[in-house]
Amino acid sequence: MSMIKEYFILALKSVWAHKIRALLTTLGVIIGVSSVILLMSLGNSARLEAANQIRSIGSNLIFVSVFDAQGSLPNDWISLIEEQADIDAYSPLISSSVSYQIEGQNIDVSISGVNERFAYINSLDMQLGRFLNEYDVEFNTPVVVLGSKIPDLLLPNQSIIGSTIIIKGIPFEVIGVVQERGTNFSGDNDMMVYIPIDYASIMSGFSSINKTFYIAANSEDNIDFTLNRVLTYLSTVFPSDSNYRAFSQTQVLGVLETILGLLTSLLAGIASISLVVGGIGIMNIMLVTVRERTKEIGIRKALGARQSQILAQFLIEAVLITTLGGLLGLLVSYVGTLVISWITDFNVVLGLDAVVLSLVFSITIGVIFGLYPAYNASKLEPVEALRFE
């Protein structure tokens, strides 16, 4: 142990004696370590972000869709499912879109015909007013709930609640505005408006009814069971499973996590090539160092250094250089995460795993690429080495 400390001090002195060279040598490791860590942190943050976004929509959610021209589901199908599984709520959905010309600009708005449970199922929160209620849906009142971007675009400088907007020639009274949601697989939620489903079904240009449904299972544990019931039912109604699609939010989450995880590993893998390149740089400079210090090695051997002691001395020096590189790389990637978090509103966090990994990486690189030069040094013949000038 005391010998290792001895070599460590020796290595520190020798690195300090060639500061600039050590820094340049270690640049490869710095770049390698920081890019691997940065990409890993980015990937992990993206995964977290995606998971959070999906959870905010509601993790109990099951999405059912029948493709066009394949017929539609019978009106009473949901009650058949309700008999077999615990369904908390459901809403059918039909959709269309409409384009507004405002000051020469085209503004495309998606229109969703839904029932009063839709907000609950999708965890929509209100920014203003209220969502559709059961009377609106039952009595087909011409009311509309707006996505968060709509008021500024269609009703600038107006009081929003109580205003009227025209959809496909029909005036609708605005009763509420939904909080900002961002974009997900169903499009830009903030550019959507919601109207009562039956009202929508008699308007022109909407998809046909009984094709798309949102179902909320009554608990997270029940999702798979409910989804299975739905799929079993669908298979009795349609000839082929290519006619419909049913999936849960957790499945989407799983797929997304798998894809992002794969992407992260791929990028980190590519970045780790630079670590290998950095390692070769270390090996190169260590070979030069050993050659330069042949005389020193000869003197040390003449004075009683064993081969293993010379090996340890140079190996520790290589590991020290790469470890310093790893630490600097960690610093660079930390600064990198700060910059990314500052420029984008994406919160990138350097994990403890990244810190540990960078140190393990850099030490391993030092051992792998320092071993050959150190072995060369240890095998030098004392007489030959002493004669070297």
Partner: protein, 227 residues
């Protein structure tokens, strides 16, 4: 203590085989003060490397302290160089990035002497060679004579029985050279076996026995009894 019988050393240089030593028989007893002299090419440096376990023999027999060197492995040879032999080189061979003190401490590091003891011993030895006020100087900040005294202190670090000095005065002027020789003479008087390799007969005259080499063979071996 040192016994060589029919020792040969061959070097292969391209297609030629060069015989540096051609069958050398030498016996050196404990406490002797010996000079090995000869012109360059006589094989005296090769002989010194072999005695110092820095090089291995091609044929023959070499015994150190009663044990044939062939029986030792690399690590044991390193330990012999470390503990049983103290080297003094013509070019001093001090490590330039270490202080005088650290240079003297180095052999003790390899002998795994405790740090505190190492430092005490090194300070003591530097005191013996008159360099107490130069302990933290780097070799480049010392004169040639001072550097050679540091290397003598270093040679004594692990209390070896044998001091091997290869042209110890070669890089020094006559006066400082004589000081170094006096130091070696003193070490011999304290009981160390001292072997000096030199081409200079004047240097050799300081010793009690002069072995002359020529073409890899012992030419003469003259012991004189000094009053």
């Amino acid at each position: 203590m040192i016994q060589l019988k029919g020792v040969t050393k061959r070097y292969v240089m391209g297609d030629n085989i060069v015989m540096a030593l051609n069958g050398v028989d030498i016996q050196i007893k404990e406490g002797e003060f010996v000079a090995i002299v000869g012109p360059s090419g006589s094989g005296k440096s090769t002989l010194m490397n072999i005695i110092g376990c820095l090089d291995v023999i091609s044929d023959g027999y070499y015994e150190l302290n009663g044990i044939p060197i062939k029986d030792y492995d690399q690590d044991e040879l390193a330990d012999i160089r470390n503990k049983q032999i103290g080297f003094v080189f013509q070019q001093f061979n001090l490590l330039t990035n270490l202080s005088a003190l650290e240079n003297v401490m180095m052999p003790m590091t390899y002998a795994r002497v405790h740090k505190k003891q190492r430092e005490e011993k090194a300070l003591h030895l530097l005191g013996l060679v008159g360099l107490s006020d130069r302990t933290h100087h780097k070799p480049t900040e010392l004169s040639g004579g001072q550097q050679q005294r540091v290397s003598i202190a270093r040679a004594l670090a692990n209390d070896p029985a044998i001091i091997l000095a290869d042209e110890p005065t070669g890089a020094l002027d006559t006066k400082t050279g004589q000081e170094v020789l006096n130091a070696l003479k003193e070490l011999n008087q304290q009981g160390k076996t001292v072997v000096i390799i030199t081409h200079d007969v004047e240097v050799a005259k300081n010793t009690n026995r002069i072995i002359t080499l020529r073409d890899g063979l012992v030419l003469t071996d003259i012991s004189e009894v000094k009053s």
